[in-house]
Amino acid sequence: MEKVHYLLTKAGPRLLNLMVDANQIDIIVTAPGMLCQRLEFVTNLGALDGCDAGFYTELSSHLYAQAYCGHTSPKPVDISVDTHRLGAELSIDLGEPNMYQSLLRLRTCSGRSFREVIQNSRSLPSQTEMMAGLYVVKAEGHHEHHQAMPKVKSKGNKQSHQHHNIKKGA
């Protein structure tokens, strides 16, 4: 099987082709959590074409991903399906935030290629021509200002930035 790798950087490509004849894709992520937040599965097909909520759930069960950030041991990352008014959404987490880069290794559980796994979904009519990829969702805010802080559980709103109130003088 062919080897596939991508590098996500500032101003780099935001759409990664998933219709590949490989069962492993290495994605090097620059500053996960700071530049890039997560990956979202996107396709040109809708629910009436077969890409309904069941398709997303089935696809997520066929995928496995690990993040290698270098700072800690390799860790599995979440591949989740959320439902929205717009429809279902499959997201792949990028692991721990990192200043530099991490490696996200995405695999099919069966060893079949991503193209086969996607096209052979029970939800899709056979021989369906389609486009499928991963969209790079940008990170919001400026995560670095959490980065060198002690890891403490925040109370209340996760988005609050209480340490902005620290005294000046650095």
Partner: protein
């Protein structure tokens, strides 16, 4: 003029002098805080990740934009001068990424900066960077106050106080040809200053072009080198000396191919929009911006919000030092060093 040489080409005496300076700086207590001078430098690298001026949105003064080059040049030079206070005549060696055989045989050895490891981060178990160095392995110059090279407890980022490494980069090293290509990169996106593209490839790499550059190097070492306090690992200084060397070569290349030019021509005009963001560079990254924390008497306008108070209160106070702007670090020979 200090001459920075390839770490793999240093002779035994030069290696010993460099290690002596590093270890002594690690033992040297700072005059203005309860921390070693070495660790003050480490703390600064974490603090610079998010800095606000007059409570505006925080900016990373040292990464993810063109100021990456300028900030680290100034940072390294101050560190080099601090080393020279410990051992006169020492200069920062650079880790030539493309000389992998030299690095394996000379740099990543028990006698120099200890070996690299693959996979899960593990404590360094040989050489002088261990947390506890056996007495019979300590050189004559070893400071009596130091048991080994332990990571400061405020700066260990959950990785522990033993210096750790663990590589997850399978595609290292870059080739000599790629490094040459990078030093002569001359891409001007829609007429923009060529520094934009050069910086992006040098700091982050670029798919389909050269991926194995600064960020990949941090991941190639891994462990503490993969965190905000990456200078905990002394390889950081050699890694960034190589980044700076490539920038220096690029500057020389641009001066060579552009008659009657000067170094300022190869930094975007302050009003030039980034071709990546469609706006001017952020604070600290433009030609005439001050480089925090070297902002002189304006220091009370700035505040780091990336580090805890326990760290911020240990930073060196640079308020009595002359301001340093981006434009001040473009001429590296004027700063007192060059590369062999």
């Amino acid at each position: 003029m200090d001459i920075r040489k390839s770490a793999a080409q240093l002779n035994d005496n030069e290696i010993d002098a460099f290690l002596e300076a590093i270890i002594k700086l690690k033992a040297r207590k700072a005059s203005d805080a309860n921390i070693s001078v070495y660790d003050q430098f480490v703390a600064l690298h974490g603090a610079v990740m998010a800095v606000t001026r007059n409570n505006a949105d925080p900016v990373n003064f040292a990464h993810n934009n063109i100021g990456f080059l300028a900030w680290h040049r100034q940072y390294l030079r101050l560190f080099e001068l601090a080393l020279q206070k410990e051992v006169a005549g020492v200069s920062l060696p650079y880790w030539d990424w493309s000389d992998d055989i030299g690095a394996s045989n000379r740099l990543f050895t028990d006698d120099f900066l200890s070996s690299t490891t693959r996979g899960r981060p593990e404590s360094i178990s040989n050489g002088l960077l261990r947390r506890r160095v056996p007495n019979n392995r300590k050189p004559d110059w070893w400071p009596s106050s130091l048991r080994g090279f332990s990571v400061n407890r405020h700066l260990e980022e959950g990785s522990g106080r033993n210096l750790k490494r663990g590589s997850t980069e399978n595609n290292w090293p870059p080739s000599i040809a790629q490094m040459q290509q990078l030093s002569e990169l001359n891409i001007s996106i829609r007429g923009s200053n060529p520094l934009w593209a050069f910086w992006l490839v040098l700091e982050q790499g670029y798919d389909g072009f050269i991926m194995r550059t600064h960020n990949a190097g941090h991941r190639f070492i891994g462990g503490h080198m993969a965190g905000s306090f990456s200078p905990n690992d002394p390889i950081f200084w050699m890694h960034h000396a190589n980044v700076d060397r490539i920038w220096a070569h690029w500057q020389e290349f641009q001066l060579r191919i552009n008659a009657d030019s000067n170094p300022k021509d190869f930094w975007p005009h302050p009003d030039e929009f980034s071709p990546f963001e469609g706006r001017v560079a952020p604070l600290g990254h433009k030609l005439n911006d001050d480089l925090w924390p070297w902002v002189g008497s304006d220091s009370n306008q700035y505040q780091s919000v990336s580090a805890a108070q326990t760290i911020l209160k240990r930073l060196h106070d640079y308020s009595n030092m002359k301001k340093v702007k981006v434009v001040d670090v473009l001429d590296f020979e004027a700063m007192g060093f060059k590369y062999e």
